[in-house]
Symmetry: C2
Subunit: 205 residues, 2 copies
Amino acid sequence: MISEKIVERLSLYRWLLETRLENEVSNLFSYQLASMACVSPAQIRRDLMTIGYSGSPGKGYLVADLAKSIGKELDGAKPSKVAVVGMGNLGRALVSFISDRRSHLQIVATFDTDSTKYGRVICGCRCYAQNELEKIIKLEGITVAILTLPSDAAQAVADRLEKAGVTGILNYAPVPLKVSKKVYLENRDVTAALEKVAYFAREGD
Amino acid sequence: MISEKIVERLSLYRWLLETRLENEVSNLFSYQLASMACVSPAQIRRDLMTIGYSGSPGKGYLVADLAKSIGKELDGAKPSKVAVVGMGNLGRALVSFISDRRSHLQIVATFDTDSTKYGRVICGCRCYAQNELEKIIKLEGITVAILTLPSDAAQAVADRLEKAGVTGILNYAPVPLKVSKKVYLENRDVTAALEKVAYFAREGD
DNA sequence: CAGGCACTGTTATTTTTTTCACAACACCTA
DNA sequence: TAGGTGTTGTGAAAAAAATAACAGTGCCTG
């Protein structure tokens, strides 16, 4: 089990590596990757140590190989299936963001309460009525959900998701959800993020 | 200067306090606030110590008063002015999210390159053409920017923002931006967040 | 008013995370 | 091949963050 911070950074490293691959860069030194990721070279080396990856003193790290090694650690054997609940502006934005990256994260269903939306295919993904939530989740074996719906509905949906078998929730609704210990919850409150940025923008980092 | 983590939590606390206020709760104990925020009571007390706020052993913390004290620490003397660059689905979602909360964060301008958008008022905020960026930023005294635009344009816009005087950037574009040390940068890559959730959903927290 | 209770503020401790420092190693050059 | 250079892997140190522990305090009760 890797700590949260390290997982976050590994995910960032992989993605930096992949964009470098597109530019045909085949190897990188720790200090190069470090400057891209805005961390120290020592941090890079230590993080790679935790996943047991070794470079070579002369050539640094093999970009493609390292990216694959990170994937081996972060990705499961099978792709994780993801649902998006709430297809307002934010939901649609996220679906289109994600669906053309990361093949091991498959958005297989979206849900909404608006009857003009469900039944249709939005951003390349079928939108279901919200009362079909449990059925589809179980049918598809969905384990991760993204919540992009109004605050007042979020807790009820979270409860239903958990009961249906979801073990990870990424919550964009500005509400503090209560979930059991079994479910991993990550909150991404936009306002909180903005307050933080405003604070440090003012105080001068 | 307060550390990042503490700022994040204080922001969360305030918001929890405010929602409690709406429910006419006038005081709270550290363990109550702790359970809402999913942190330990000791953490709460320590965080409040850093902003020099004191409760009383008998009654805990006065909700309204504490919220105001946090505000005194997090908010500047004047409201921070914010710009949103890129009014796709994500940009519109964020504007409507934020504009009806947090009076000390004022979204005063949005920008887009699409000529069918600029000139209009979207989600209650005037949308300008992107080539007016420098002019409006300086005119309005905008210090914080939210980037919700395609990856390939992000770095160029970030450079222009910095030159125009922006000191805080909240970046939703999936690109690692390079900015000078003077600018506080917070990345909110959706894919990275989802990867993290998927990882812990699988590994069982 | 004395005593017990329940909570706070703060110091001390532990744990986690990051950085430092350096031996070991590959590679290049002569 | 020997020596110099520049990078890695990792143990040790430092720094940061979280937790625990407890004295001090207001409040209630009898």
